[in-house]
Amino acid sequence: MKVSFYLNEVLVTYDVAPHEYLATTLRNHAYKSVKIGCNESSCGSCTVLINGKPAMSCSILSLQVEGKRITTVEGIQEEAAKIAEYFGDEGADQCGFCNAGFALVIYALKKEYENPTEEEIKNYIVGNLCRCSGLYSHLRAIKKYLKEGK
């Protein structure tokens, strides 16, 4: 079946199976920044933005995003580079597998909240797991990015 959506602002039309998940479709079309980690809606590595909101692309069917705006990390390169700097400075940047999903969630967090509390930040990023670190380095990096990266 055909599905059309805006991928990083460009209208694309792909041929997909009825039970094909968005992460698979994106990876099949060379968007390899979208990682499939746990493949059961837990780890957040497959996060993309759907109409600006973070969502797990391993768990939404490609046909469900008909007409929607999908953003992968390729679509926020400038902000992602900034976030990567803060991650590097705080030692949050290790194997890198979770980074693309993390960058998108942090980008969405910044758009959604003006001055999030620590609890709000934690609640927002809890669906993105990093298996290298204890996530405290991420929290420090995110706080600095939100404060200085305005």
Partner: protein, 264 residues
Amino acid sequence: MRAKEYYRASSLEDAYQKLQEDAKNVLLAGGLWIKKIGQSYNTLIDLSTLGLNQISENKDEIIVGAMVTERDFENHPAIRKLFNDSIAFAVREVMGVNFRNLATIGGSIMGRYPFSDVISGLLPYHVKLKFYPEQEMSLEEYLNYKGKLNAILTEIHIKKEEGRGYFKKVKTTALDFPTINFAISKINNEYKIVVGARPMVATIAKGASEYISNIKHPTEEDFIKTTELAVEELSFMDNKDASKEYRMDLTRVYIKRGLKEVNE
């Protein structure tokens, strides 16, 4: 998950007809549970274009479309205002934001999932479910309904009332299913005590709720007596997360704390 066809319903009637056509056709809300259990279907019936993703309110009720995402629900000012934010709080305890942007309130209710925080969070309040073809029942009636209901959930009506609420999910890690969960309401001196994930689906501890509702100025001893009544009347079981005894102990602790909190 496998599916042969994907069908975008053009109306509720259209979706309903498609559902009747084949026992292996299924309604698609957020799609997260379908993904998790990985079964095979003939047709996935997409309900996303039927305008069921709105929250509205009148002077008595908040009306939540069945396809409203958990995230939109928990962020809605009218929902947050209810019972000191305790319903929205229960929903915020479900997985991460990137999950709740997909999961729907209707899907969370219709599955009657034993681990549901959404159901436990809503059950102590006056919540009515509306279906297509036209049918109406309370959330409690739906949980007790025998067999599979052959209807499409369209709206969830939450009665606006003044009162206090409490919700607690006990979990081992931030992203975990609940080991057990608790919700308590106090509206005009009437209490409702709910315990879910015991590990069975949430239920109201009726005897305990009635006992405490009949006491004007409850003391610590009344709270303890209430928790004992709840432990006696509810059934608990072992599973891989916790033993029956541990769940009973947690019930003693958290119902007491919750009762104190709704009395503050």
